[in-house]
Symmetry: C2
Subunit: 200 residues, 2 copies
DNA sequence: CGCATAGTTGACTACGCTCAACCCTGGTGG
DNA sequence: CCACCAGGGTTGAGCGTAGTCAACTATGCG
């Protein structure tokens, strides 16, 4: 899956992109603010969160090369708050301009729909996984769905604790569950990669 | 939010829609099968599920008037299995024809992206809610997000047990939690509608 | 070498699930 | 008109699993 990048945009739009250089912990936009732009993380990392009185819920980490707030195009307000996790360089693409570009460039529309579809399926998968009570089963299903069929291995790009939040588990439970699965010979671990041993 | 309906399609595509009349419990398509079409429930209800050895996970109920498997357009295989929950009439729209229509009718593309965006935000909300451990908080957040600001009331279209699965709670826990909130005066209930009493 | 962060392990707790019994409602048929 | 039934909803008791808190180890980086 290729993410939407600034290079894919028509030249005249590329020229009108604004870049923001941000430090760690800076807010790019807040939930409920009127939408004005969509964004691409050129480098760094952005965290998307929702606030409520008692809780802060992180629901996605946007890595370098990924776009975010794409749904701003069709809503009046942002559905979450975006904060930089690292010093980051962010491309800001004006909403109106982007909409115009979508009208003018069918290929861009196609790439955009493709990406939106991909994201949607992704979130749906995570939601499905949350319906599985047992940490063990949830983790196994995640591995099954995410693993390269060729080498039966998943290489993690980020620390385990990110995987834990993605799965809706505490880091401790994930650690324990991985250990158990390893003891039982169902998986092997080596640094950042996890291999499924048995056939399913 | 208006869902994609068959009436919104260009006439020449409408004429090529095939209709399936199905009884309860019939399979429309299976996970991993190659995608051939997108669908609209004209009447009845469809349940989207995922299978795995131990579990069956229902992740959405498609009501009359809603489309489903829209993401089939951009994937080679279906991401879930669709089963009728009631006797249903289903419109089957060939994938290739629909893609052609998207290319030819920008308004349709717009409606499609709009719907996809809406669905995406919807699923994201549910995923966020699952990050909230406490049944009480999860339910409150759900209510806050779903309620009409005008009358502070949410009217349920379906039995409570559906709400329970949407929230990832057992029906019993949901029932208890609602009772507690009512005792504490935070909400009022009347038949199928729930009203938030206090200001937030 | 020292610090910060990630990961692991242990003990305890709490919350929601499960199972079960029961109530309530609406629909159906005699 | 009542009897019956099915499904949804409510309530109770007990259990189990994942969270929490804490201490400790491992790893990486300046």
């Amino acid at each position: 899956m290729q993410f939407l990048t600034t290079e894919q945009l028509p030249i005249n739009l590329q020229q009108r992109i604004v870049y923001q250089i941000l430090d760690t912990g800076q807010i790019i936009f807040q939930q409920h603010e009127p939408t004005e732009a969509v964004f691409v993380v050129e480098c760094g990392r952005v965290r998307l969160v929702s606030f409520s009185e008692q809780q802060i819920i992180t629901h996605y980490f946007v890595e370098a090369g990924e776009s975010f707030a794409e749904t701003a195009l069709f809503s009046d307000t942002y559905a979450c708050t975006a904060i930089t996790e690292l010093p980051s360089r962010i491309a800001v693409i004006d909403k109106e301009l982007f909409q115009q570009a979508l009208r003018d460039y069918p290929d861009l529309t196609n790439a955009y729909m493709n990406q939106l579809t991909y994201r949607f399926e992704n979130v749906k998968l995570l939601l499905e996984l949350r319906s599985i009570r047992s940490a063990r089963e949830r983790l196994l299903q995640y591995l099954i769905r995410r693993i390269e069929p060729s080498n039966r291995t998943l290489t993690l790009q980020r620390p385990l604790k990110y995987l834990a939040t993605e799965l809706g588990l505490s880091a401790e439970t994930l650690s324990r569950t991985l250990s158990h699965l390893e003891e039982q010979g169902l998986i092997s671990r080596k640094q950042r990669s996890i291999t499924l041993n048995e056939d399913w």
